[in-house]
Symmetry: C2
Subunit: 319 residues, 2 copies
Amino acid sequence: MSIRIGIDLMGGDHAPREVVHGIRRYVDQSSTSAQLTLIGDPAEALPLLQEFAIPDTNYKLHPTTEVIGMHEHPTRALKEKPNSSIAQGFRLLASGEIDAFLSAGNTGAMLVGTLFSIQALEGVIRPTMGTVMPKLNGRTGLILDVGLNADCKPEHLNQFAVMGAVYAKHMLGIENPKVGLLNVGEEEGKGNLLAQATYPLLRDNQSIQFIGNIEGRDLMSEKADVMVCEGFTGNIVLKMAESLYDMAKHTGIKHPFLDRFHFENYGGTPVLGVRKPVIVGHGISGSLAFCNMINLAQQMIETDILGKMAQEIARHSAS
Amino acid sequence: MSIRIGIDLMGGDHAPREVVHGIRRYVDQSSTSAQLTLIGDPAEALPLLQEFAIPDTNYKLHPTTEVIGMHEHPTRALKEKPNSSIAQGFRLLASGEIDAFLSAGNTGAMLVGTLFSIQALEGVIRPTMGTVMPKLNGRTGLILDVGLNADCKPEHLNQFAVMGAVYAKHMLGIENPKVGLLNVGEEEGKGNLLAQATYPLLRDNQSIQFIGNIEGRDLMSEKADVMVCEGFTGNIVLKMAESLYDMAKHTGIKHPFLDRFHFENYGGTPVLGVRKPVIVGHGISGSLAFCNMINLAQQMIETDILGKMAQEIARHSAS
């Protein structure tokens, strides 16, 4: 049975046109294998699906009548707009009609929807979000949490490390990934209270290869593949990293390394530690971002990344 | 009476040669006005002072016999090595024989020495450290705290904002500087518990022009001149920013904007909120960094920046 990916046609500043354009880019790829469930307003969607000549063998349309705006209150909007594309996406995901859901719409609604419609994996205290970080040696690292959990406890970070290592291995292809704790100094004992209390947990964690503390200067270096922090610092680091691409454009610097910071290249940010893949996109996503969000969803399903996380969390909890 | 600046000749990976080379660069400038007290081992210092032909009208040598190593325990080292260059520097600063002290030696010893030898300004709960951040519009911002206070309370950040605004005005020449709270979203109510609790304090703070939350993508933008955060996030942002210069070198990118991230251009990091200027340098400082650390000390004394901070903190506390 083929993979079924649900796509919010109405989410994002450039929806639905850029979403459909992204779908065109996706179906043009040789690696394309998913059946797409397109969730949105048929009156807006059908002309675009025709314009971009999306083969009707590739998708089915799930009609909706409402849209959650970018600045609406998440919980209220989900409740008051049950026929919105985001609410319907989570309904389809929860009922098993789709295997993954992605949207560049209201981020808060996506996160509330994920946490309430799709349960956390058995044993996971806090789901998290991670994003890739380009490394100067050409490889790619992972930093997490990048904003889902602004306040964390040490055991949360310890689980993020486990989930991040699984992601790095199976999604980024890094055998035995090096896990580092993002901190203000190299030595054990450095840091704020959270980092100080987290260090011994990571050191004693048998599920990961912990290499100690890393600093802000190591984010782009090869020192660690998986970089663990709470979501406040991680979100600021992520947005600073993304701004390097804008900085390059602003200053006229052209270099492949800086191009790698363009968020459209990785598409969106996956929620980790939940039972089914949910991918949250930037509001300003263009067609490349949507294409890569679909690719990311496909890869997450094909690798059964969340199933592998569940196994590793169970092993970690038992040890 | 001329300004008297104390310089640790023995501190840093390239001391004392690069320190003396930096002094040469300092005395070569037309703006040079300080009398230098050079603190270190005469056997090592005198040949270098001769080699670099430092005029003996510019300095006097304060001989010491001990050195605190880069990895020694700060409190213990200061106690056990009273005749070290760092311990002597703080003795001279506390007794009024010098007006400022700078070193690229053991950072911990510099901070412990500052907090114990030089008192906090009246009303300052926590001294802080701030560092400049290049802005894409050609201007320069200030981010603080960058590592002195890894765990903070809202009132600490509120005072950092006041001290940062004074620094931006009188040291960076920014009239009515815009103060932003570094956070994970733009709207009030976003953030971790600390940021959420800090926002209303900054909003109601009559001593500053608060422009709301800023995000990681705004660090290099003109949105805020003074960027306030706790020292954990600030330290990671600072080191990530400094690494942009190394990234440029590694990738072969040449651009004046990235050159501005080279720490030697601003020299060292001042401690703010204490009674006398102390400047902490990078261990890897070269002559340019030492020259600029002396310039920074001179400017801090000439502008009476710490006196102005004391006035503003008193006004803020009274309001």
